[in-house]
C-alpha cells in the first residue's frame, strides 16, 4: 500500500496537521478552541481515510463525528463552560506531580509503541513480501475494474457499496445491536439531563424532597 507521488504529499500534510491539531486540542486554554482544534484533527484524519481508499468511512466521520458529536460538545461547552477560563486565571493543567508522571508515562509509551510498530512491520514485510511489481500490477488491475470518475483522474470507488454489502450481510447482527445501543444512549441521556422539576413532575414526587 505504498503511497507515492501526490498521495504521499497529501499524506504528510494531513498527517502532520492531525498531530498538530491534536496537540493543540490538549493544550488550548479555551474549551471552544479545544473543540475547534479537535474538529480540524478529525477532518485531517478523514482525509487520511480517503487516502486509504475508505471514502465511506471518511464521509461517516465527517458527518457523524464532526457534524454530530463535536456539535454536541460545543453545545455542552456553551451550557457549562461560559466564562470559566476567559479571565485566564484558572489553572488548566493539574498539579505538577500528576503532569510530570503523565508525561513520563506517555514518553515511555511512545517509545514502546514506535518500537513495536517498527519491529512488527518489518517482520510482517519480511513474511509477506510480494514483489512490488506484482503489487503494482494488482493495484492497477483493481483500479481498472472501476469506472472512471467525473474528473477522470481517479476511479469511482465501490467502497460504499462493498461496505454496505458487508455490513448488511455479514455484520447485520452487530448492526442491529448498535442501533439498540443508540436507543439506550438516547434514553439514558434524556434521563440524565432532566432537571429536578422535570423528574418530580413525572414521578409525582414532591420536588422539595431530594431524590
Amino acid at each position: 500500500m505504498t503511497l507515492s507521488g501526490y498521495e504521499a504529499l497529501f499524506f504528510w500534510i494531513f498527517g502532520l496537521a492531525a498531530i498538530f491539531a491534536g496537540l493543540l486540542t490538549v493544550m488550548a486554554r479555551n474549551a471552544v478552541h479545544s473543540a475547534l482544534f479537535l474538529i480540524s484533527s478529525l477532518v485531517s484524519v478523514a482525509a487520511l481515510f480517503i487516502l486509504s481508499r475508505a471514502e465511506f468511512i471518511a464521509g461517516v466521520q465527517i458527518l457523524v463525528y464532526v457534524g454530530g458529536v463535536m456539535v454536541l460538545f460545543l453545545f455542552v461547552i456553551m451550557l457549562v463552560n461560559v466564562g470559566a477560563e476567559e479571565r485566564g486565571s484558572e489553572e488548566i493543567f493539574n498539579n505538577q506531580r500528576q503532569v510530570a508522571a503523565s508525561l513520563i508515562f506517555c514518553l515511555l509509551l511512545v517509545g514502546g509503541m514506535l518500537y513495536a510498530i517498527n519491529t512488527g512491520f518489518n517482520g510482517m514485510k519480511a513474511r509477506n513480501s510480494t514483489p512490488p511489481a506484482v503489487v503494482e500490477a494488482q493495484e492497477a488491475s483493481r483500479d481498472q475494474a472501476h469506472g472512471a470518475s467525473a474528473t477522470g483522474s481517479s476511479r469511482i470507488t465501490k467502497d460504499t457499496e462493498s461496505v454496505g454489502g458487508s455490513l448488511y450481510r455479514y455484520a447485520s447482527l452487530p448492526f442491529e445491536i448498535a442501533s439498540v445501543l443508540l436507543l439506550v444512549a438516547i434514553i439514558g441521556s434524556v434521563m440524565l439531563a432532566r432537571t429536578l422539576k422535570q423528574e418530580a413532575s413525572v414521578d409525582d414526587v414532591d420536588p422539595g424532597i431530594a431524590d
Binding site: 493539574n94 500528576q98 508515562f105 515511555l108 509509551l109 514502546g112 518500537y115 513495536a116
Partner: protein, 831 residues
C-alpha cells in the same frame, strides 16, 4: 368359639384406652364412660363364657388339653430370642419350639385359666356396674374407669398368658393399676402413702418372682408353660431337707406370691390399700389381684410338689397369716379394715390349701372367696355410701331397716364366710381343713389344721361382730353426727388447720370432698366446730341413711346368689352317699375340671381326667411306711386307685396324721370326714354365738373383756406393730443409708468435681491474664505499629481524584507492555 379368647383381654383395654384418652378431652358423660367400661367388660365376659363352654362342653371340647391361641395364629412373636445355654436335659425334650428362647404373646385356655377368666370378667362385671353408681359425681370418673379397664386387661393377661413372661407382664400391670387406683384420690396424703406402700411391697415380691423366672428359663430353656411343665414332671422330687434347683425356683415364686397376695411378712400393704375407692378394694384386693399369687402357685404346682420343703413353708406361712390377720380383725373399727384383714386371713387359708397339696381346693376357695368377699366389699361400699361416707362401725348400727337390700345380701356373704352349710364358703373351707388334717404331702398337717380351725373361729367371730355393729342393734348415728365432714379425720384435720383432704387418720378411707353440713345423723350442737373456715355455716340438715340406687344393689344381689349357690360345684366326697359319686357333676365339678392340671407325685404325671383325685382318704396302704418312690410309667387308669396312698410313699414319713388317727379310731373314712365337717360347723357356730353375745345381747361384755385382755387388745389393735417395725428396721434405715450416700456424694464426689472446676477456673484466669496482657499487648503493639506506618501511605492513595486513577491505569498498561515486550526492547538497546 374359644379361638376368640384373644379378644377377652383386648376389649377392656380398648374401653380403657377410649375412656382414658378421650374421656376428659371430649367430655364424655358419666353414662357414656360407664357404658363403654361396663360394655367392654360385659362383652369380654360373654366371650369368656362362650369360649369356656365350647372348650369344655361343646361339640368338640378341647378339655383337658390346653388350647393356645398360637395354634390358630392369634399370637405374635413377642421376643424373638437367640439360643440360650440350656440344661442338656432340655434338649432331649419333645417340644419343637426349643432351640431358641422365643417368647411369644399367645393366650392359653386350659382348666385353670378358664376358671380365672370367668371369675375376673364375671365378678369384675358386677363390680363395674356397682362402680358406675358408687363413683357418681366424681370429676375423675373417666380416670377411674380407664384405670379399672387397664387393670382388667393386665389381670386377664396374667391369667390367660401362655408363658411366665406374660404372667409377669400381667403381674406388674396389676401392680401398677393397684398403685393408680389406690392413689385415685391423689390429693390425699394417706392415699398417696398407701399406694406407694402397696407398690413397693409388691416390688419386693416381684424381685423373688423375677429370680424364679430366670431360674426357670435357665433350667428348662423355655418360658412356655407346656414346655416347662412337661420337662419338670420328670425331675426328681426334693424331699424335706434336700434343697435343689426346683426348691430355689419355688422359693422365688412363693416370695412373689407373698408380695402379691399379702402373706406374712409382706401383708402390710393390703389394709392401707383401703384408702382407695371401695369398688377398687372389692375388685383388686378381694377378688382378683390378690388371687394372682394363688394362680401362680397352682399353675406351677408341678414345681411346688417337687419340693417338700417349700410345700411346708407355704402351708405354715399360710396358716400363720390366717391366724395373724384374723386376730387383728377382731379389734378394728373401720368396716373396710375388718374386711381387709379378713381377706388376708382367707388368702392364708388358700395358701394353706396349696401347701398341703390340695391345689384344686385352693382354687375353689379363691372362687368362693371372690364371690362372698366382693359381695361384702360392695355391701360395705353401699353402707358407706348410704352413711354418707362414714366408715367407722362405732357410728353405725341398726341399718337393716334403712338398707334392706344391702342387709340381706350382706347376710348371704356373712353366712358364706363363716362356713355355714350350704353357703359357698362352707364347701371350700371345710375341704381345706379336711385336706390339712389328712395331708400326706408334708408333716405337721395337724398343726395347720388346728391353726386353721382357730382362725375360722376368729373369722366367724369378727364377721358376726361386723354384722352386729353395722346392721343390728342401736342406731348410734342418731346420737352423734356421722360421715361426711363430721368424721374423725375431718375433725382432726380441721383442728390442725389442714384441708379435709389432708386427713391422715386410720379411719379416713375413700372420701371425696364434703361440704359443711353433709353428714348423717343429728345436727351438731356446737355448729361452729365443724363449719368450714369460710364462715358460711348453712347446714343442709342431717341426712338419714338411705338405700343405694339400683346400679349398686343389683350387683349385690347377683353376687349374693353366687355366694349362696356357688359352692355347689365343689361338693366334696363326704357327701357321696347323697350324690352317688365322689365329685358329683362330672366336668362341672371343680375338682374334676381342674384335675388335669395338677401333677400327681405318685404317678409322676398330670392327673388323667375323671381319674385320680386329690382329696381321697388314704387307701388300704398303711401309713408310716417309708418306701422308695416308685418310678411309675405314664398316667394310666390303673393309677386311679393309687391316688393319695402313693403320695405317702412319695414324700416319705410325714409324721402324725390327724385324719389317719381319727380314722383308726372310727374305722370308717366316711365317719372321719363327717367328724371334721361337724367340727368346722361347730367352731363356726361358736364364733358366731360369741360374736352375737358380745355385740348383740350383752354389748358391755366387749368393753369388759378388752380391759381384761388389755395387752392382747392393744397388740391386736395396733396390728402387732408390724408397720412400725418395718418403718424402723427397713424404711428409716434405707433413708439413713440414702442420706449417708448423699452426703458422701455431695461431699466427696461433688467436692472433687467442684474442686476440679475451681482448678479450671483458676487456670483459666491465668490463661486469661496471659492472653490479655501478653498476647493482646503484642498484637496491639504490632498492629498499632503497622497502622501508624502504613496508614498514611494507604490514605494517600485515596485522593478521590479521578485522573490519578486513570494514571494508574496507564501505569498498568505500561507494565503489560513491559511484560510482553520488555525483553525485546532491551535487546534493542544491547545491540
Amino acid at each position: 368359639m374359644f379361638k376368640y379368647i384373644w379378644l377377652v383381654p383386648l376389649l377392656p383395654l380398648i374401653g380403657a384406652a377410649i375412656n382414658g384418652l378421650f374421656g376428659r378431652k371430649l367430655r364424655f358423660s358419666e353414662r357414656l364412660i360407664g357404658g363403654i367400661a361396663v360394655g367392654s367388660v360385659a362383652l369380654a365376659f360373654l366371650i369368656s363364657v362362650a369360649a369356656v363352654y365350647s372348650y369344655g362342653f361343646g361339640g368338640h371340647p378341647e378339655w383337658p388339653k390346653p388350647y393356645l391361641t398360637s395354634q390358630d395364629g392369634f399370637s405374635f412373636n413377642w421376643i424373638p430370642g437367640g439360643a440360650v445355654s440350656v440344661n442338656p436335659r432340655a434338649e432331649a425334650a419333645e417340644s419343637p419350639r426349643f432351640a431358641l428362647l422365643n417368647i411369644e404373646w399367645s393366650y392359653q385356655l386350659d382348666p385353670l385359666s378358664s376358671i380365672f377368666m370367668l371369675i375376673v370378667t364375671g365378678v369384675g362385671l358386677c363390680i363395674f356396674v356397682f362402680a358406675t353408681g358408687y363413683m357418681h359425681g366424681e370429676t375423675g370418673f373417666y380416670r377411674f374407669f380407664a384405670y379399672m379397664g387397664l387393670f382388667m386387661f393386665a389381670m386377664l393377661v396374667l391369667v390367660m398368658g401362655s408363658n411366665f413372661l406374660m404372667m409377669f407382664v400381667g403381674w406388674e400391670g396389676v401392680g401398677l393399676c393397684s398403685y393408680l387406683l389406690i392413689g385415685y384420690y391423689f390429693d390425699r396424703q394417706e392415699a398417696a402413702n398407701a399406694s406407694r406402700k402397696a407398690f413397693i411391697t409388691n416390688r419386693v415380691g416381684d424381685f423373688g418372682f423375677a429370680l424364679a423366672i430366670f431360674g426357670i428359663i435357665a433350667t428348662f430353656g423355655s418360658a412356655q408353660y407346656v414346655d416347662v411343665f412337661n420337662q419338670a414332671k420328670s425331675f426328681p422330687i426334693e424331699l424335706l431337707g434336700h434343697w435343689g434347683i426346683l426348691s430355689w425356683i419355688a422359693l422365688g415364686l412363693f416370695i412373689g406370691a407373698c408380695g402379691k397376695s399379702a402373706q406374712l411378712p409382706l401383708h402390710v400393704w393390703l389394709p392401707d390399700a383401703m384408702a382407695g375407692p371401695t369398688p377398687v378394694s372389692a375388685l383388686i384386693h378381694a377378688a382378683t389381684m390378690v388371687t394372682a399369687g394363688l394362680y401362680m402357685v397352682t399353675r406351677t404346682n408341678v414345681i411346688f410338689q417337687h419340693s417338700q420343703t417349700m410345700l411346708l413353708v407355704v402351708a405354715l406361712v399360710g396358716a400363720a397369716t390366717a391366724i395373724f390377720a384374723a386376730t387383728i380383725g377382731i379389734t378394728q373399727n373401720d368396716i373396710k379394715k375388718v374386711l381387709a384383714y379378713s381377706t388376708v386371713s382367707q388368702l392364708g387359708f388358700m395358701f394353706m390349701a396349696c401347701g398341703v397339696g390340695a391345689f384344686v381346693i385352693g382354687i375353689f376357695h379363691v372362687m368362693t372367696h371372690a364371690f362372698f368377699k366382693a359381695l361384702m366389699f360392695l355391701g360395705a361400699g353401699s353402707v358407706i355410701h348410704g352413711m354418707h361416707h362414714e366408715q367407722d362401725m362405732r357410728r353405725m348400727g341398726g341399718l337393716k331397716k334403712y338398707m334392706p337390700y344391702t342387709y340381706w345380701t350382706f347376710m348371704a356373704g356373712w353366712l358364706a364366710i363363716c362356713g355355714i352349710i350350704p353357703f359357698s364358703g362352707f364347701w371350700s373351707k371345710d375341704e381345706i381343713l379336711w385336706n390339712a388334717a389328712s395331708t400326706t404331702h408334708i408333716p405337721l398337717g395337724w398343726i395347720v389344721w388346728l391353726v386353721g380351725t382357730i382362725a375360722a373361729t376368729c373369722t366367724a367371730f369378727y364377721m358376726t361382730r361386723l354384722m352386729a355393729m353395722t346392721f343390728w342393734g342401736r342406731e348410734r348415728f342418731l346420737e352423734a353426727p356421722a360421715g361426711g365432714e363430721a368424721d374423725e379425720a375431718h375433725a382432726s384435720a380441721y383442728d390442725k388447720g389442714l384441708a379435709p383432704h389432708d386427713a391422715v387418720a386410720p379411719s379416713a378411707g375413700d372420701r371425696p370432698r364434703h361440704e359443711p353440713g353433709e353428714h348423717v345423723g343429728p345436727v351438731h350442737e356446737d355448729a361452729t366446730h365443724h363449719v368450714a373456715s369460710d364462715g358460711h355455716g348453712d347446714h343442709h340438715g342431717a341426712h338419714t341413711p338411705h338405700e343405694s340406687p339400683a346400679s349398686m344393689w343389683v350387683p349385690l344381689a347377683v353376687l349374693a346368689v353366687l355366694a349362696t349357690l356357688g359352692g355347689l360345684v365343689g361338693i366334696g366326697p363326704a357327701f357321696r352317699s347323697l350324690t352317688g359319686t365322689e365329685h358329683p357333676g362330672g366336668r362341672v365339678n371343680i375338682v374334676n375340671w381342674l384335675n388335669p392340671i395338677i401333677w400327681n407325685p405318685a404317678t409322676r404325671e398330670f392327673n388323667a381326667p375323671e381319674g385320680a383325685h386329690e382329696a381321697a382318704v388314704p387307701a388300704e396302704t398303711a401309713h408310716g411306711e417309708t418306701a422308695a418312690p416308685p418310678v411309675a410309667e405314664g398316667g394310666a387308669e390303673g393309677a386311679a386307685e393309687a391316688g393319695h396312698g402313693s403320695a405317702t410313699a412319695v414324700y416319705g414319713d410325714t409324721g402324725f396324721n390327724l385324719a389317719h388317727a381319727v380314722e383308726n379310731t372310727t374305722h370308717s373314712e366316711l365317719a372321719t370326714e363327717w367328724i371334721f365337717i361337724l367340727i368346722s360347723l361347730v367352731v363356726a357356730g361358736i364364733g358366731m354365738l360369741l360374736g352375737a353375745l358380745f355385740y348383740v345381747w350383752r354389748p358391755a361384755l366387749a368393753g369388759i373383756w378388752s380391759q381384761r385382755l388389755r395387752p392382747l387388745y392393744i397388740a391386736s389393735y395396733n396390728k402387732y406393730w408390724v408397720d412400725e417395725f418395718y418403718g424402723m428396721a427397713v424404711t428409716r434405715r434405707t433413708m439413713d443409708l440414702a442420706r449417708a450416700v448423699f452426703r458422701f456424694d455431695s461431699g466427696l464426689v461433688d467436692g472433687i468435681v467442684n474442686g476440679l472446676a475451681w482448678l479450671s477456673r483458676q487456670f483459666s484466669r491465668i490463661v486469661g491474664a496471659v492472653d490479655k496482657y501478653f498476647v493482646d499487648g503484642l498484637v496491639n503493639t504490632v498492629a498499632a505499629f503497622i497502622m501508624r506506618l502504613m496508614s498514611p501511605l494507604f490514605r494517600a492513595a485515596q485522593t478521590g481524584f479521578t485522573q490519578n486513577y486513570a494514571l494508574v491505569m496507564v501505569l498498568g498498561l505500561m507494565i503489560a507492555v513491559a511484560v510482553f515486550f520488555g525483553r525485546d526492547i532491551l535487546a534493542v538497546f544491547q545491540r
